[in-house]
């Protein structure tokens, strides 16, 4: 029997970017806020001296403990799904204070105006026939102009260091900090792509270029390019993460409490109102009910989706009947497709590849959704191209030209020779949703508390493969112009399929936003249509994945959501947006 705790104004599930932003904004307003984090407490002092590739990049120290909970994966509805057993196969999402926001790379992009109205704009430009059967793309119920102030707000919070993308709409004001430094590789990429007529610019970064105090008074230190960002906590407090920004802000208030080792297992509700959450203290095994007036679910895509399904809130998506919403529109940047990279090897050029920063690089938007004319192409959406310098650590970077053995003397010799003599050109493409790609509860496998695991059913379509093939050719063109002596283009066959290495840390959907309760779970304040005092924030709200990294959009949507939460609390409730009643075509 769960012990009932004292009521608070707001309970938040998760302490990553989504939960952390909500924690800061609601605490500042004086509400009693409890934030429940399933993982342990840690902070910058835990990351000092953490330059340990084996521990963090190979044993995946900072990611979810899969012995307690994982998810299962299959391609088709008639198959039995199997569990994703090890982070070493593919690390997906984080845990502990600050969540995945602690071990991210800090790459910052805004999504495109067209992304938010993708269905309307596609039909307007090409006609409805352009959208393939079973592709369930839909508008977000928000426009770029509406979300722009919230992008700005998140960028100020995290001290983004960058410059205006020459091909995108002018920002309402410049980023708060200048871009990170140039390197031999960013100079080469920019020179080459400019000569080819493209529009390169410096990647925007949440690893800040100069010491910075954000509007909440939190200080982020200047990045020193030590090259341990991805999968690591920052040694220097130089990466904007929830711990040094929004959680620090929340913790300045006595009305805020962060409770670690608290695994939320249910959202409690009565008569279509959330009444709180039930969680397990993982250090004692005891269950607690935390009552609250407002419940904010701010976990990763999988946590948010699964909690709604386990708690029987919202209508589960049924792909056959094409009804329901919870679990639909899962999309991801797959490590084994979207993130496959073209690599160039230089016999006579040597770069300082060991140095870098998580969001250091040059990028270009010449092939984005708005730049391409899709009439002659065999895919929709678009992609970015970039060359990054994140720091190539030695266990995970042993690239050799095609035809080289993967072990033995020749492998050793060439992998050493090319360690600092190779560059990859990365493409990242928009990923669109499909009718039969979805999430539900697994009928067989259980977590450590006896609850069903989340099950992902997903497969690649020709669209997904074609866009990557096309992008790889553009990357190859650039590497040729750069003067690479050997170029490796990953092979993508019709058999390249979604598998246990396909779910990236950019996975989105499941509790998507929109303007119609029949096709979306939340409105553009991330407020559940079916339960007005429940806000589900994070990438779970994205109806599709764009071609750039998702965190800026998570941050922006969460800032908007917090405005909605405050309005809700101040004005005695109600839906913040009138739903569209007519079911949109899909």
């Amino acid at each position: 029997m769960a012990e009932k705790l004292d009521r608070v104004d707001v309970v938040i599930v998760g302490s990553g970017w989504a939960g952390g932003i909500a924690a800061a904004e609601l605490s500042k307003k004086g509400y009693d806020v409890v934030c429940l984090e399933r993982g342990k407490d840690h902070s910058t002092e835990d990351f000092i001296g953490a330059k340990d590739e084996l521990k963090y990049s190979r044993r995946i120290e900072m990611f979810q403990d899969l012995s307690k909970e994982t998810l299962t994966i299959r391609n088709e509805m008639d198959e039995v799904a199997t569990p994703h057993r090890s982070n070493e196969t593919n690390p997906i999402n984080g845990t502990d204070t600050g969540g995945s926001g602690v071990h991210w790379n800090g790459q910052i992009y805004r999504w495109l105006p067209t992304d938010f109205e993708i269905r309307s704009k596609t039909i307007e430009k090409y006609g409805e026939d352009m959208i393939p059967e079973e592709m369930i793309m839909q508008d977000w119920g928000i426009t770029y102009d509406e979300i722009e102030p919230y992008y700005d707000k998140f960028e100020e919070t995290i001290g983004v260091s960058g410059e205006q993308d020459p091909l995108r709409p002018e920002m309402s004001r410049p980023f708060p900090n200048p871009p990170l430094k140039e390197t031999a590789t960013t100079r080469l990429f920019k020179k080459t792509t400019k000569e080819m007529g493209y529009h390169p610019y410096h990647m925007a970064s949440a690893n800040v270029s100069e010491q910075y105090e954000n509007p909440d008074g939190e200080t982020i230190n200047a990045c020193v390019y030590c090259a341990f960002c991805e999968q690591y906590g920052c040694d220097f407090g130089a990466k904007a993460d929830p711990i040094v920004t929004v959680l620090a802000t929340a913790r300045r208030h006595d009305n805020f409490e962060l409770r670690n080792n608290s695994y939320v297992v249910r959202i409690l509700h009565e008569n279509s109102r959330a009444t709180g959450v039930r969680y397990v203290d993982t250090q004692t095994g005891l269950e607690y009910d935390q009552p609250a007036d407002l419940v904010v679910v701010g976990g990763f895509t999988f946590t948010n989706t699964r909690l709604l399904l386990l708690s029987e809130i919202g209508k589960p998506y049924d792909p056959v009947a094409n009804t329901g919403v919870i679990g639909k529109n899962i999309t991801t940047h797959s490590p084994n497709l979207t993130h496959l990279r073209v690599r160039g090897f230089f016999d006579n050029k040597k770069f300082n590849r060991y140095a870098g920063s998580g969001a250091l690089g040059a990028t270009m938007d010449d092939f984005n959704l708005e730049q391409l004319d899709h009439t002659e192409l065999d895919f929709l959406h678009g992609f970015l191209i970039r060359s990054t310098q994140l720091g190539t650590r030695p266990i995970t970077h042993n690239h050799v030209p095609e035809g080289t053995p993967t072990w033995g003397q020749e492998f050793k010799d060439k992998s050493l020779f090319y360690t600092h003599r190779n560059l990859d050109i990365q493409q990242q493409n928009g990923v669109l949703p499909w009718r039969y790609n979805y999430m539900d509860l697994d009928p067989t496998y259980k977590d450590a508390f006896g609850d069903p695991l989340l099950r992902v059913t997903s497969k690649f379509h020709d669209q997904d493969r074609n866009i990557v093939r096309y992008a790889h050719q553009r990357g190859k063109d650039i590497l040729e112009k750069m003067g690479a002596d050997h170029i490796t283009v990953p092979e993508i066959t019709d058999e390249t399929e979604f598998d246990h290495t396909s779910l990236g840390d950019h996975t989105a959907g499941g509790v998507i936003m929109g303007d119609n309760p029949e096709t979306s779970a939340v409105n553009n304040y991330s407020q559940m249509w079916d339960m007005e005092n429940l806000f589900v924030v994070g990438a779970s709200a994205f109806p599709h994945n764009s071609s750039s990294n998702p965190t800026n959009t998570v941050g922006a949507l969460t800032y908007r959501a917090t405005e909605g939460m405050i309005e809700y609390l101040e004005n005695d409730g109600g839906l913040l947006i009138e739903p569209e009643t007519e079911r949109s075509k899909s």
């Binding site: 057993r85 090890s86 250091l360």
Partner: protein, 259 residues
């Protein structure tokens, strides 16, 4: 392969004596015979290291082996010898510098298998295990079990093809066997031989290039070959350099705060 428990296979024991010259000399000098009749205590004494010489350095001086180099996980020396030989073929000594043995990779792997990695502690381990052709991570076997099965299978293959253990065949013959494992052409119980080989290869690179505190990358020789500077606080002063900047590597021993 089934475990023989306390029974020691006579043939392989004799071969191991030959492989280890110092021990063979001792046996010859004392006139002792190793065979089925030898008592456990005599045999146990012979198979320990007390009669072996310490590592001889180039100037003829003897250096004791590092005190951290003893087997935690591998109970059979014979398995460990296969591990040494196999990792050395994957990452051989050459003009660039030491190979897997010289870098301490076999002891690194032994230590890893003795800890939580060897028993898949952070992995989801509930059955049923339904994957066909599972990777090492997805197998119902633990990583420790996969290593034992794989290394013994390597020795079995050597015995059946060349009538002697893996440690005693020529490098080309060792490569031939390993190549068959790598391509998945050797039948193994519960896991494809290519999956075992992938695990072995990855662990070898981990041992060559992880921080020396884990027991591999001895004397930071792995990083020296790789031109990886290791735990360097800041590259702010060189990040924009056009030319390559070579730096002496630093391990965490010299980076982390100490009392």
């Amino acid at each position: 392969m089934t475990d023989n428990g306390n029974k020691i296979n006579n043939k392989s024991t004799e071969e191991k004596q030959e492989f280890d010259s110092s021990r063979r000399r001792f046996v010859k000098n004392t006139g002792m015979i190793i065979g089925g009749v030898a008592g456990g205590s005599v045999l146990g004494g012979l198979l320990t290291n007390q009669f072996q010489s310490d590592t001889e350095t180039t100037d003829g001086k003897k250096e004791p082996a590092p005190a951290t180099e003893a087997r935690m996980f591998f109970t059979r020396y014979e398995d460990f010898v296969v591990l040494e030989q196999a990792t050395e073929r994957i990452y051989p000594e050459d003009d660039n510098g030491p190979g897997a043995i010289g870098l301490g990779v076999p002891y690194f792997i032994d230590k890893q298998l003795a800890g939580k990695w060897g028993v898949n502690a952070k992995d989801y381990r509930q059955g049923p295990f339904l994957e066909s052709d599972p990777t090492a991570d997805m197998s119902s076997l633990t990583r420790g079990e996969i290593f034992i099965l794989g290394l013994r299978k390597i020795n079995e293959e050597s015995q059946s093809r060349f009538d002697t253990t893996f440690a005693k065949i020529e490098a080309e013959q060792q490569d031939e066997i390993l190549a068959n494992f790598a391509s998945g052409d050797v039948d193994m119980k519960g896991i494809g031989s290519n999956r075992f080989f992938d695990l072995l290869r990855t662990a070898t690179l981990e041992g060559a290039y992880s921080d020396p505190m884990y027991g591999g990358n001895r004397n930071i020789e792995g990083w020296k070959m790789k031109e990886f500077p290791g735990a360097v606080a800041s590259y702010a002063d060189i990040i924009d350099e056009e030319e390559f900047v070579k730096m002496d590597p630093v391990s965490l021993t010299n980076y982390q705060q100490k009392s």
